[in-house]
Symmetry: C2
Subunit: 581 residues, 2 copies
């Protein structure tokens, strides 16, 4: 299929197709969504208003046979941060859109009648929009079940929002189905589900029947480069062993030992119950119950860090909860019950909310006294409020900042309105630089300094000292912005950092697929271009150096066990984006 | 009493006194609070955290015999806007603090134990802090009743917060008692009640026994200038007739006729029920029930726009609700029942919330379907939720922006997070410039262009056209910042605009009181100095030109009956503060 861009106007229901303009030709994933948002969305617009646009874009390598390249990027002005947002997800939709040649799907405007619900159908033959009143108010699991009933399982991928997105909750995610057609993968961060909901768009059906995998311009070179990448991933201890064996939650024990595991709403840096919810324990539990480890969330993944989690009766409950989810709902709330955490993971996926934001929110709610730290049943009851859309649920569904505001809590772990992930900046100073300065708000994936700070991948920079943190964060943010444009899973970064042939292999894959001649410098340059576009959008939206700061208490309240505070100087933070004019 | 500054540390309960440093010698009211906040509060601090400070300052003329000079300014970093805030109030406390020579009271830090409640006692003999667990959770009426029981009525003035401030609600006000010792006057805007609550400070008792009125350095000159000011106020049709006769609500019919009266959550510009809740109707109702018109909210007021409102049985219900309150709870919610509005006014005063923010919030809640427009009982039920601190009440108590966010409403009339007052910028373009650019967020008092746009006071600038609006807004913002520093009621501005002897009279009053030689240029210069300090604080807190904007829908949704949108160009808005380096 010819590469093209699809526009859907949700007010007029008009659908148009256009070619990819030359200025976007080398863009995919995050580069594509950020370019479109930066060019077409007024930076000061109301995020849930008519002028915002929601953009879906597979990566440059999406739909091809390149290993681990199926991530899909979603972009818009975020109702959570007020800035530009790219949130990417695993699941199968990126591969399907890639195969269909859809380089970007742009959803514009909104219906006059707020009660309308629409469904997009994307096939080889074209794109159609139909009403779907029967899906209104459903969670993602029921939504997808109905869609599977309607369209069948074969060659299908679905994206949808739960009730949270329909209600405009600013923690709302967009769910992407995995290969088992379960809504377990999410573009979680930044409330893009609320943007989708504001446009009356409940779900998207993607069908790649009658289209084949993307054909490289240079098949032989593509195949050879793909082998080099697969080999590098297989040989690296993180992507070849740690992640496949234990999943992302391999980090629970690692961060606990490093004293950088945020516990009790970021009051402490280690958790007595960590071992009960560690990746090791999780693996044993899954295997004992007949679940699955070494599972890929999309076709073509060679890392296989996904898993399938069964309840005590051996029935499917949810995908294996990720480290971030187990930390946010577990550690951060002092809950050491893996089954309770898995149940909350399932609820989050069904309601359609970001698990990082929700766990951080429950932590703030516990600080406000709405439940006790460690009270799993209380935490589940809070999530039920979100599911039911009660007033308390509306507060919680808007995330940690709003919850802190509504209950007068002054200890709220957010940057640019977005909750911090599972690494405390006082014990891992580099990630504090990323949280503070990322165009995305607090986001570990934007520049994962855990690699050099904790895992000693790509060198080592002492996590407790301010020295060198700005440089590693800047370098990783640039590399990540480029990687997020390829559709590659971020986990390839481990191999890139330790194996000098990995980035050339990825570059060769892109060159071979499109018939280009990109150099390694071009990749760095792409990352800088993406970050520059995002940074300028945010500046026009009103962001300044004052927004590139951690909460003030992180500089005054020491974190046990190291009893350190965040010490990277503010003037150094202001140097992270020194490459932007 | 010698002029001095008092500091109270709410963590250590230490109280210190210091002289007025020379750089603040010519400052009072807003100049004093903004100077202290700008110098001592970190602009990026958490507003309810330890680093914020709450400053109380009477005006330069406070405590003197100058007419209408008893307003008190409160300042802090606002938890509602995230910027600097000065909110001033009538009531008696400004006069009492002025007589005691307290030029500023600075409340710092916060108790370790959040459940503690403290009471400050300010007398000639000194300042003491005592615990007051018995006041925890009480509304302002009960709080003041207990305080009157404890300290007596004579020579007393009280400031206090209701439950909203204790709970950290960002719409929370600080109440100031009137001459009848009722908590009817409020520093309403910007959530300063929440800052007071965060510091564990429930109330302040001010006692001016054994001190006399401030003695001017030049008694004769002071007396003569006072007479000139009183004469100008008596002779102007607004301050001499309109306001004393009908109160501030004289504006209801005026704005309705001008088509600039925000109705149905800023969807329309006129209200069919306006006459039923107009100042004329209110006057007749008050007089028929034995209430009071021509009442002063503090000693020394010669305008007397306050009034006392009785219920249908002739029992005291509340002060005569002001225009802003009748508009926000009435017009904006399509409620034309004066008694229902008066009941909500009483509830707001008791809970301790800003009536502008609360009415705008109820309008947004009605837009979200939580009650029907026009449903007075439904609106009262919403306020009861705030009073009870239910989750819904927590949302509403945090104002219009948070309510819009929690319920996914995209039509929210706020600037910098603060709700717009009773003039629609699409029909009164000048006030749109003030709302957009004021350092305070949407605030009519910051630069009241209604005078030239609608009332033809100080000239006339066509309210429907963009021309000339920036100049009038800038001039009025500068003059207001100076006036807010004197303790003068803003209503003296009408006389200033139409009578060239009024500003000289005020300048002469200050000169005679302190033995100074200020010129009229010095007054303009003071206004610019105040605005510059505030603007720079906001810039350091992260505000940019993008924050100096109205909501985007005000440029696209025409307002009936004129069917105009806001058309002042953005580049012109960016010229309002052209005097700040």
């Amino acid at each position: 299929m010819a590469d093209r861009i699809i526009r859907v106007n949700m007010k007029t229901l008009e659908i148009t197709e256009e070619g990819v303009p030359s200025r976007w030709a080398g863009f995919g994933g995050r580069a594509m969504t950020s370019a479109i948002v930066a060019e077409e969305v007024p930076p000061t617009c109301t995020p849930l208003g008519r002028s915002n646009k929601l953009v879906f874009a597979p990566g440059l390598l999406g739909g091809s046979a390149a290993p681990t390249s199926g991530r899909i990027s979603l972009g818009a002005k975020s109702p959570l941060t007020g800035g530009i947002k790219e949130s990417n997800s695993g699941g199968q939709a990126g591969q399907v859109l890639g195969r269909l040649g859809i380089r970007a799907l742009i959803v514009e405007d909104k219906p006059e009648d707020k009660t309308k619900r629409y469904l997009l159908e994307i096939r080889k033959g074209g794109v159609t929009v139909v009403e779907c009143a029967e899906l209104a108010g459903l969670g993602n699991y029921d939504t997808v079940a109905k869609l599977v009933g309607r369209y069948g399982e074969k060659k299908s991928a679905f994206m949808s929002i739960g009730m949270a997105g329909e209600w405009g909750m600013t923690a709302a995610s967009v769910a992407v189905t995995d290969r088992e057609l379960r809504p377990t993968r999410h573009a979680g961060r930044g409330g893009l589900g609320a943007v989708m909901g504001s446009k009356g768009l409940k779900a998207i059906y993607c069908d790649d029947s009658e289209v084949s995998i993307r054909k490289p311009v240079d098949k032989a070179a593509f195949k050879a480069a793909g082998r080099r990448l697969a080999k590098a991933l297989a040989e690296h201890p993180v992507t070849g062993e740690g992640l496949p064996t234990y999943g992302t939650n391999v980090l629970q024990n690692v961060l606990n030992e490093a004293g950088g595991l945020p516990t009790r709403n970021f009051r402490e840096g280690s958790f007595a119950g960590a071992d009960k919810i560690s990746g090791e324990t999780q693996r044993d539990t899954i295997l004992a119950r007949g679940g699955k480890v070494r599972h890929g969330c999309h076709s073509g993944c060679t890392i296989q860090c996904s898993r399938i989690y069964m309840d005590a009766n051996g029935e499917y409950l949810t995908k294996g909860p990720e480290y971030e989810t187990i930390w946010s709902h577990g550690t951060n709330c002092c809950i050491d019950d893996l089954d309770a955490i898995a149940r909350m993971d399932r609820m989050d996926d069904d309601i359609g909310v970001d698990t990082i934001e929700m766990g951080a929110t429950i932590g703030v709610a516990m600080e406000a006294g709405l439940a006790a730290f460690g009270d799993a049943a209380g935490a589940i009851e809070l999530l039920e409020q979100v599911q039911q859309g009660t007033p308390l649920g509306r507060i919680l569904g808007c995330g940690a900042k709003v919850t802190g505001q509504c209950f007068g809590v002054d200890h709220v772990p957010v940057v640019k309105g977005q909750a911090m992930p599972a690494y405390d900046p006082r014990a891992v100073q580099g990630i504090g630089v990323t949280y503070a300065t990322s165009t995305m708000g607090a986001d570990h994936t934007a520049g994962y300094t855990i690699a050099p700070n904790i895992l000693k991948v790509g060198g080592f920079v002492d996590p407790l000292k301010p020295d060198g943190q700005v440089d590693i964060s800047r370098g990783l943010q640039i590399a990540t912005a480029a990687l997020d444009s390829t559709g590659m899973c971020l986990f390839v970064a481990f191999a890139i950092l330790d194996n000098s042939d990995t980035l050339p292999a990825i570059t060769d894959l892109i060159n071979a697929l499109y018939g280009l001649e990109l150099t390694l410098d071009d990749v760095t340059s792409l990352g800088q271009t993406v970050l520059s576009m995002e940074r300028k959008f945010n500046q026009a939206a009103g962001f300044t150096a004052a927004d590139d700061r951690l909460p003030d208490w992180m500089r005054t309240e020491p974190l046990a066990p190291h009893n350190t505070v965040f010490t990277v100087p503010e003037e150094d933070l202001d140097q992270v984006f020194n490459f932007v004019e």
